[in-house]
Symmetry: C2
Subunit: 208 residues, 2 copies
Amino acid sequence: MLTSLSVTDFLDELASNSPAHGGGSVSALAASLGAALTSMVCRLTIGKKKYADVQSEVEKVLKQSEELRAQFKAIIDEDTAAYNKVMSAYGLPKDTEEQKSKRTAEIQEAMKTATLAPLKLMEFCGKAMKLVKIIAEQGNQNSLSDTGVAALMLHAGCEGAALNVLINLSVMQDYAFVETKRTIANTIRKNVSDDFQHILYRINGKIY
Amino acid sequence: MLTSLSVTDFLDELASNSPAHGGGSVSALAASLGAALTSMVCRLTIGKKKYADVQSEVEKVLKQSEELRAQFKAIIDEDTAAYNKVMSAYGLPKDTEEQKSKRTAEIQEAMKTATLAPLKLMEFCGKAMKLVKIIAEQGNQNSLSDTGVAALMLHAGCEGAALNVLINLSVMQDYAFVETKRTIANTIRKNVSDDFQHILYRINGKIY
């Protein structure tokens, strides 16, 4: 499990020549960091007199943010498992016609799983970015740079997952699947990007 | 040390109500992840027949990328130390005029240190992004999405550090320092952003 490694060992493992842990796991970790910062800002808001009016809303945000953080963290390891499944399908024998066709089918099936993990990550990044939008307005204004970094991490996580989704789709043969998932990915990408710009615009306006 | 925690514990610590570990450390971690992915793609390029012509250049990139990764990792913990120094300056007594003026001076001095850490992070992100630009063109093209995620992480790390720099500068009194550092920060931000767009444009063009 990547997530049980120390940060130092995680970085060393990532930098090694093993391709199993790569951009997919890093995107999920970036999203986890975004959710963790969102939760931190919520906790630095709750209980403060100045923010008494928004307390119940921020508590709701915290609950959702912690749920998303758990989901993001699970995807860090899921992505590696999905990659390994693709690799083992590529390793199947291809000596007879029957083997070749079985191998192709297995690769395509494994690619679907490997595409659904980052697509789920993108969807959750969209939900998490909505939470950041709320805390950028209602959360502790002393933590604006942390809120901004939360938005940056979720945006980078979503865009990284999009690269993985699009690269997988580009070699897949089930065109109905490809078109449906590409449309979903591009829609999420646009929505997340719009929310992200909105948040950063607000924060940049406050720190000059 | 944050970097000796497991990824899971790091995320839990970050999400807690302790403000010491926040956007600054996360930005440095994002940059570390970007450098680690850059090193991985270098290692997946070196030794491959297809990339024999660029081998010596990619080896140079790997060496620099590993040096930057060590620098980034050090900043993860440095940022927390700098934050704690600011907080302890704020905690100084302010009963007499002399104490007040000493406290103000200490806060301003601590803020300078706390500003130089993310500024150094930005500078190193600029160097690391140049390396990603090289491997996007010359590195293993099967690892394009990892290269893209490396660029995304370095960009997010640089932008996160910029938020910290600008927020600190906005409350500082040494105007010569403020103007000089703001100009440096904005120049790095623009250069990193230009290189980032260039890399992503190239990668997006290849994966559709």
